[in-house]
Amino acid sequence: MADKLKVDSGSRLRFGFYWAASCGGCEIAVLDVNEKILDVVANADILFWPVAMDTKYEDVRAMPDGHMDVCFFNGSIRNSEAKEIAQLLRKKSKVLVAFGSCAHHGCIPGLANLHNRREVFDTAYHREPSLDDSAGTEPKTKTRVKEGDLSLPEFFDHVFPLDRVVDVDYYLPGCPPPVPLILNAVTAIFEGNLPAKGAVLAPVKALCDECARNKHVAKKMPDIRRTWEIQADPEECFLEQGIICMGPATRAGCETRCINGNSPCTGCLGPTPEVTDQGAKMISALGSILKVDAEKEMSEEETKALLDKVKDPVGTFYMYGLASAIINHRRGK
């Protein structure tokens, strides 16, 4: 793969960037690379980058297949436009990188998989308190006006990670990907040092392994508390203070940026390589550590009451991973 990159393009690599269903944060992460971005620009041509450049889809369609060396694709697949452009960019790029949690696992947009298109439309276009819904307007794929037919992309019932619609070569995890990981990836690309296809370009360990907080090998979680209920001690492991921290179920590589800000990990880098389902893994971890000293004395009712303190299990354990979970949408929706 990497050799092919060098042979085809000489020293200047051709890059593309795209955003599908995303918040724009991944684009900012690219800019956060700061002056190092200039090294990239010095050694690369950016052929397509909707957020920063006025290239059109037609320009991409006109490229020969495989014309771009690398395309960083952020955002999940929410509608037919995203899917179509994903397929187009796949064809036009030698290496397609799912950039960021949305493209990797569906991320926050993927939480909409608790609902379907009808429910999303009802909320967004009809039930918003700030909305005048007297005309009952909502997006249609085709609308006839006197000048002719107008079309809009089809909004899907579900959100999909990029690799559910096209073949993906690499994954850069994170919401957004941490700058050091972006730099590593870009360096590997320039040096022709990319790992085997399909790799997640991040460490393989769990976040707890790179977390500097005081922790015990056998963690014990004393209770379940929400972040606002206590003033978290900035030196001690969150779980050992009773605050759910996704560290045990999440890949390292972010340099504990949330934890450094005294916020628990919410899991944006996704699961470690041996795990398929991050939420299930976290449920397993909680079972192991929650009130272990008292579990024998607790009745089933008491255990249930304790676990009731986990408000919104999907939002807690699958904040980023619902669209790529083993069960990736709500039944019947």
Partner: protein
């Protein structure tokens, strides 16, 4: 066949109690429905919640987990871990509109062949009443299932 729905049920039973209880049900020639596909685990706590979700996704209409009674786990406290996990998985199922009755945790000892047969009977009927789960993976329009 009258076309009665025959549920597919995955069973994860610990080696030391529930699997032995199942054996006892067999050797005492108790009758119970053949709908459960049993998998023996060393301990109920070895049932990774991923197995439960994967079983549902792969076509199980119900999942039953059997372990030793509280205090009797061969590994001291595995079943307490199991209990917490199953409660959380049920919460998750509620949010995903999967009837939590499709997942059951039972403590069945090696001496309780009768209980094993009764529970399998009960659970099979409950799942039969709930009907097929039909939990397909969501796929993008124009795409086959992948992954």
């Amino acid at each position: 066949m009258s076309g009665q729905f025959e549920p597919k049920i995955a069973g994860f039973f610990c080696k030391w109690c529930t699997s032995a209880g199942a054996d006892l049900a067999g050797t005492t020639r108790l009758k119970y429905p053949p709908n459960v596909i049993p998998v023996t685990m060393f301990c109920s706590s070895r049932v990774d919640p991923q197995y439960i979700l994967q079983a549902f996704r792969d076509g199980a209409d119900g999942v039953i987990i059997g372990g030793c009674h509280p205090g009797d786990c061969h590994y001291q406290a595995g079943n307490y871990k199991t209990m917490k996990r199953i409660i959380l998985v049920k919460r998750l199922m509620q949010q995903m509109s999967i009837d939590e009755g499709r997942l059951r945790l039972e403590w069945i000892s090696a001496a309780e062949g009768g209980k094993f047969a009764r529970i399998i009977h009960e659970f099979t009927e409950e799942i039969r009443n709930l009907g097929p789960l039909q939990l397909a993976q969501a796929v993008a329009p124009g795409h086959g299932a992948k992954g």
